[in-house]
């Protein structure tokens, strides 16, 4: 790892101020992706501004069906939050299966979303839940946020402060982990809300998380496993690598979607 200057921020505005004074600084949340990336020198920031202890970035509030999750809230906190589980158990269950217990104690929802790893779980959830990603200056709809592989709508110095969404009437996430790395080869989040069904997919596409329109249309017609028979995504747009080709991954999308629907219907 290259040498760096470490700064600790106690709140979001201090974090922004600290970053603005750096040459090529980055925000550090749980560090479960950024630190490994720095060890291999894929990332070499001049400075790190640690936001993991920023009080105004932490915590979960549930008001009716409206959910707000602070960006520096850990996966373990999302998994174990009773109020959140009452209105949206699917996101708690999803968070409980990210990485491993030690990773979940450090990794954060904001960090996962800002990184937009094509195999990360949260982006699929954000798309399916129709979440709004909030920063200090604006609100970005999940549909506009995830731009491509490791790319988001965030500016370089823009910090996610929280995530908001309306809990769906029903939802579930089904993941097919790579047997070795345990990252999602395909993860499908299905949410059935007031405005219809939304399906978010991670791990399968070469362009990162996406919404599966054909699956949504089929489930809007009838919310059942059978409704998905013969419905999938374009195999040519799926990732092809040593772990599985596009046809295999397209089939996984269909199978994981069926498992998610089966879990809630």
């Amino acid at each position: 790892m290259h040498s760096l200057n470490y700064h600790k921020a106690s709140n979001a505005s201090e974090a922004a101020r600290l970053l603005s004074g750096t040459e090529d600084g980055k925000f550090l949340a749980g560090g479960q992706t950024l630190i490994p990336a720095m060890k291999t020198r894929l990332a070499a920031p001049s400075d790190l501004v640690d936001v993991s202890g920023a009080a105004d970035l932490r915590g979960i509030t549930v008001s009716g069906r409206e959910v707000r999750i602070g960006a520096a809230t850990t996966h373990a906190e999302v998994a174990a939050d009773d109020a959140l589980r009452k209105v949206c158990p699917s996101i708690c269950d999803m968070a409980a299966n990210i990485g491993d217990p030690a990773v979940r104690h450090r990794g954060t929802i904001g960090g996962s979303i800002a990184n937009n790893d094509p195999a990360a779980d949260y982006p699929a959830a954000m798309l399916a839940l129709g979440a709004t990603i909030k920063t200090a200056s604006r609100e970005i709809a999940a549909d506009e946020f995830f731009v491509g592989l490791f790319e988001t709508a965030l500016e370089d110095d823009e910090l996610i402060t929280s995530i908001g969404f309306t809990a769906p009437a029903a939802g579930a996430y089904a993941k097919f982990p790579n047997p070795a790395s345990r990252y999602a080869m395909c993860g499908v989040f299905v949410a059935r809300g007031d405005d219809g069904v939304r399906v978010g997919v991670t791990g399968a596409s070469a362009d990162g998380a996406f919404r599966a329109g054909d699956l949504e249309a089929a489930l809007d017609g009838a919310f059942s496993v059978d409704a998905l028979d013969g419905i999938s995504v374009n195999a040519e747009e799926m990732l092809s690598d040593i772990h599985g080709d596009g046809v295999y991954r397209a089939n996984l999308v269909s199978v994981m979607a069926k498992r998610a629907v089966a879990a809630v219907s």
């Binding site: 790892m1 290259h2 040498s3 760096l4 200057n5 470490y6 600790k8 550090l28 560090g31 479960q32 630190i35 490994p36 720095m38 060890k39 790190l48 640690d50 993991s52 373990a76 174990a80 990485g99 491993d100 217990p101 030690a102 990773v103 104690h105 450090r106 345990r182």
Partner: protein, 156 residues
């Protein structure tokens, strides 16, 4: 370089380290507590697991500076005169062979038992195996490790 202070195994400690210094290097190189191991250095294997403010973390994937002011417990800090029930259970059940992964297994084991007890959940065999996803053993195999954690869970 800056001074990073924390409490490790109940003792106040302090060292001048670089911003990039990992918590595991602070523990091993500066405090000379070498029970915490570095296996993969890529947050996969879990030999570096310690508790930070009561929660298991991979100390190879956390900066020392981020633990400023924290309460850290390493494998050297779990025994209180006698062996900790988790250590004794690994001994009773032949839960180790070469022993390299054992400090991390024990720290993860204690963490999972504490969490499940606090949440009133049953730590059965399937739960132990799922909880061990981030700890890799390459020689003993997991059967006796799972048995060890199950025994300790009944005694803790």
């Amino acid at each position: 370089m800056s001074t990073v202070s924390m409490t490790v195994n109940g003792k106040a400690v302090s060292a001048d380290v670089e911003g990039r210094t990992l918590l595991v290097d602070y523990i091993r190189e500066h405090l000379r507590l070498t029970g915490t191991h570095v296996g993969c250095d890529t947050s996969q294997c879990g030999t570096c697991v310690v508790h930070v403010d009561g929660k298991a973390v991979k100390s190879c994937t956390m900066l020392a500076a981020a633990a400023e002011g924290a309460e850290v417990t390493t494998i050297e800090g779990v025994a209180n005169g006698d062996l900790h029930p988790m250590q004794k259970a690994f001994n009773d059940n032949h839960g180790l062979q070469c022993g390299f992964c054992t400090p991390g297994m024990i720290m993860s084991g204690i963490d999972m038992v504490n969490r499940y007890k606090a949440e009133g959940r049953q730590l059965d065999e399937a739960a132990i195996r799922h909880e061990l996803e981030g700890n890799i053993c390459r020689c003993t195999g997991y059967h006796n490790i799972v048995k060890s954690i199950a025994q300790a869970a009944s005694e803790m």
